[in-house]
């Protein structure tokens, strides 16, 4: 394992030094990222736009696999071989990097004033003094559905939970389509596209999330167990062998037109647009009763900061200021429909599916994922445990109550506000 990592590092170092030798006159900035899906968009659209506006600075986008990004990045930073610009995961992972002195403070950066406090909240020190990453985008959860399939079966978009399950039941009875494309093999889909997707409607978004952080609510409260009970009902509507179904399997099942509904994050939009040859629509997580306020997970997901030990701080700041500009926001949001800009300047979106997702910001209350801020600082890690619990509940190997109790016990074991 170690040797593999070392080999990877050597290889990337070799590639970097080659690239450096080839363009010795220009400054080359390297971006570390986990978005390897976006490689072509960065290379073809974003980087050329920046380089055209800023001659003399070259940018090299060097992503690694999402699941390995944090570990690889940490090793690179420790070894001093990381790139000049670091794509930031939200909250503690990046905060830890800042605390260790790997990320530079951006309090002085001109472009930071384009962002609201909420947008900056995921990448700022607890005292609110030092932002360390420029917010790039948030992702919104919901369900993407196959419009052709819905028309064929005469279904309408569900608004309440009862309607949602009625729709699933009808698709199942008809048998042409798998009602919902999701598997539990990779675990994170169950938590992210399951629990965190439908949950905000139960715990009332920010209200419940903040109450959990302050210790006023616990994970065993009805508002936090209910979403697990709903997830447990999903089991009957997933495809055969969903236990071994992976994330790419689910994506393919949906884009090949074999499944009717896909519990989604808006980041899927660009991939699905190129893969699927049917028309797609989206609906927000169904509410309990018609007329209830709806809540959506509008998760601050991605930002970019500067390696504190970069050799080219001035050029890196130029790039970050450009990222903070409306020009970048518009370029990025339209190149990657489904990643919604966080800057206060309104951005015109062209993609209809992305428009649908972003329209929910107006009628629903936004929140972020419940486990991300503060609550995943300890051991056991609440986010990882939530993956495990959500997958268990969907597979039926753990009851919602047991799962909630296990999570609460784990949280109580290290989190002071929950201890009383």
């Amino acid at each position: 394992m170690n040797s593999k990592l070392a080999r990877g590092l050597l290889l990337s170092a070799a590639v970097l030094s080659l690239a450096g030798a080839a363009q010795a006159q220009d400054v080359t900035l390297t971006i570390e990222s986990w978005r390897n899906d976006d490689l072509s968009i960065w290379q073809d659209k974003i980087i050329p736009a920046f380089e055209a506006a800023n001659p003399g600075i070259k940018v090299n986008f060097a992503p690694s696999a999402p699941a390995e990004y944090n570990a690889v990045l940490n090793s690179k930073l420790e070894a001093g071989s990381a790139g000049d610009l670091i794509t930031c995961r939200p909250f503690d992972a990046s905060l830890a990097l800042y605390d260790k002195g790997y990320l530079a403070s951006l309090a002085e950066l001109e472009g930071m004033k384009n962002f609201s406090d909420v947008a900056k909240s995921a990448w700022i020190t607890d005292d609110g003094e030092n932002p360390f990453c420029v917010p790039m985008a948030s992702v919104i959860h919901g369900f993407i559905y196959n419009k052709d399939a819905f028309e064929e079966l005469g279904l309408s978009v569900p608004e309440t939970e009862d309607e949602f399950f009625a729709v699933l039941e009808k698709i199942k009875e008809d048998g042409t389509y798998i009602p919902m494309a999701m598997g539990t093999n990779d675990q994170w889909e169950a938590a992210t596209m399951g629990y965190q997707n439908i949950g905000p409607n139960y715990w009332k978004g920010e209200e419940g999330r903040k109450a959990l952080i302050s210790g006023e609510q616990t994970l065993t409260d009805a508002a936090w167990v209910e979403p697990y009970k709903t997830l447990a009902r999903w089991k009957d509507y997933l495809g055969d062998g969903f236990e071994a179904q992976t994330y790419p399997d689910s994506q393919n099942l949906f884009t090949l037109g074999r499944a009717a509904i896909y519990p989604a994050g808006s980041w899927e939009i660009s991939g699905f647009n190129t893969q699927a040859d049917f028309e797609m629509g989206a609906f927000p997580p169904p509410v309990k009763e018609a007329g209830d306020t709806c809540y959506i997970s509008d998760h601050t997901d991605i930002a970019i900061g500067m390696n504190a030990n970069t050799e080219h701080p001035e050029e890196a700041k130029t790039f970050l200021n450009w990222v903070a500009s409306p020009e970048f926001a518009s370029l990025y949001a339209n190149a990657l429909p489904g990643f919604f800009p966080l800057s206060e300047e309104p951005v015109e979106l062209e993609d209809p599916l992305a428009q649908e997702f972003i329209s929910w910001r107006e009628k629903c209350e936004s929140t972020i994922r419940s486990t991300y801020q503060i609550l995943s600082r300890g051991t056991p890690n609440l986010e990882n445990e939530t993956w495990n619990a959500s997958a268990n509940v969907i597979r039926g190997s753990e009851t919602p109550e047991d799962a909630a109790k296990r999570l609460q016990d784990g949280l109580t074991s290290w989190y002071e506000p929950q201890k009383n």
């Binding site: 699941a67 055969d240 969903f242 071994a244 997958a391 190997s397």
Partner: protein, 308 residues
């Protein structure tokens, strides 16, 4: 009167010849090993490394959550090892015995075909088998369907009760070539005179294998067992490639290697803890060390060796 004692010449060439291996081995194996041990005695408190003695080990074995994960991983690791000992090695010996049969044709072909998976990357094996066993695209359900046994199919890699055994068998498929080759070599080195003498005494066929060949290849079987033990307790790659670092479902395939990886490097929102990770790595080292010692002093010294 002085007697010039015959002085032994300094045999410096021994040192010279040993030096490269010793230096390289020390630099890339021994030093990191001690580095890991050292790391496991420290903990980061307020941003500084503080010596905490055996506290990390106490947490690992005493804290209910850490110890539950640890014993789960250790138990899974023993099961993984047992599958290899009970399936891989007997099949390896059987294949070697068949291959060493002089009447078998196309021996070289079989030998190569069985050995090839061993040189494949774990990633290829992991993804390949995941695809074969996939309930959606895999060939396994359709093959079973073709012979009317579709009802036997289950999403094995996604079921807590089967996942680890399935991965164990995949690993057996990959590595069965190694015991086969070692035993095959041992069988070939048995002199013909002994076998002829056995035949003169009327020992042929199966009883010749049990009474003559098997005792002669026992030392090789011992070596294979210990290689299997060390390999399995260091295993990581296949589980990681097939199930990811969380070793799902519900940690059913979590072995010490994946547990170590998650702890040391962190995973998703979990930030890596090199100190606890080193504690796990040190315990893995101790387990392997104990296993090897038991073999060396308990078994190997008692094995009867035959000189031809």
């Amino acid at each position: 009167m002085t007697v010039s004692s015959p002085r032994m010449p300094v045999r410096w060439h021994i040192g010279v010849f040993l030096a490269p291996a010793v230096l390289v081995y020390t630099a890339i194996m021994v030093l990191p090993l001690f580095g890991t041990l050292q790391l496991s005695f420290f903990r980061v408190v307020d941003g500084r490394d503080v010596f905490v003695g055996l506290d990390n080990f106490r947490t690992l074995l005493g804290d209910p959550r850490w110890s539950a994960s640890f014993w789960n991983a250790l138990g899974n690791n023993f099961w993984f090892f047992l599958i290899h000992m009970a399936v891989q090695n007997p099949i390896g010996i059987l294949l070697a015995a068949l291959l060493s049969n002089p009447r078998l044709r196309m021996r070289a072909f079989y030998r190569t075909a069985i050995f090839v998976p061993t040189i494949l990357s774990f990633v290829i094996v992991g993804f390949g088998w995941k695809l074969i066993l996939s309930p959606i695209w895999g060939v396994a359900p359709s093959i079973l369907d073709a012979v009317g046994l579709k009802s036997l199919f289950a999403p094995w890699l996604g079921k807590e009760e089967y996942a680890l055994t399935t991965l164990g068998l995949i690993s057996v498929w990959q590595f069965v070539g190694i015991p086969m080759m070692l035993i095959y070599a041992a069988l070939l080195s048995i002199p013909d005179e002994i076998l002829e003498a056995a035949e003169c005494d009327g020992i042929t066929g199966m009883s010749q294998f049990w009474k003559i060949k098997l005792p002669l290849i026992l030392p090789s079987i011992g070596i294979i067992s210990i290689l299997t033990f060390v390999g399995n307790f260091n295993a990581f790659d296949l589980i990681y490639a097939a199930q990811g670092a969380l070793a799902g479902p519900n940690y059913a395939t979590d072995i010490l290697g994946t547990f170590l990886y998650r702890t040391f490097f962190g995973f998703q929102l979990q930030i890596g803890d090199p100190n606890m990770g080193s504690a796990i790595a040190s315990i893995m080292f101790l387990i392997i060390l104990m296993g090897v010692c038991i073999y060396l002093f308990g078994i190997q010294t008692r094995l009867r060796r035959y000189q031809f």
